[in-house]
Amino acid sequence: MSVSVQQADFDAGAEIAALSAGRDDVGAVASFVGLVRADKAARVGADGTAAVQAMTLEHYPGMTENALQEIVTQAEARWELLAVRVIHRVGRLLPGDRIVFVAVASSHRGDAFAACEFIMDYLKTRAPFWKKEETPAGGRWVDARESDDHAAGRWDAGK
């Protein structure tokens, strides 16, 4: 299990390959890559025409890494996982840039799929990152979305 918070980009293919390198018990690797989207008109309300030109990710150094580790530990308690990799970028990112990577290795796909989604859902609501968007109209902190709370909450009621 490995967690990184970094400015640098990552190579998703290399990260996925590393999860099963040198072992023959992995039957499934599920992965997720989150990207900066330029067109967020649907979620910005009245000034919805302002396209995102760049985004800066702020975080809480120290707590961030601990929070991600804690989320992975919870996933490991729920499912049979063989390896987990989480990378979250911080700093200034441009549309199309990769922001976040989660990959989960397991013996079978069911656990890998579920744990990957669980980690992303919990990360969205529990890891201390904040996005500030740059638009032609100026800077704007992204509002938290209730749908993210609902997505994380459905895991509380069981699988």
Binding site: E58, Y60, M63, I99, V100, K124, A127, P128, W130, A144
Partner: protein, 84 residues
Amino acid sequence: MTVKILFFAGLREALGTGTEALALPDGVATAGGLRDLLAARGDPWSALATTRNLRVAVNQQMVGLDAAVKSGDEVAFFPPVTGG
């Protein structure tokens, strides 16, 4: 001994500072009490009272506003997180 207080994101910008060391006065024993103490300074500190769904972490663990706070703790206030 003091508490180390941290602010992040839009709250940090509104307050114009990201960190403060404060001697905890008698009678302030919870994160919510500390929030109220700071907010009572008036603008811009009232942002601590008006931020929707204000989150708090004590010693880097997300907790409720009723969580205990004591000298030596690190207390962070911030808006709901928006990573991923």
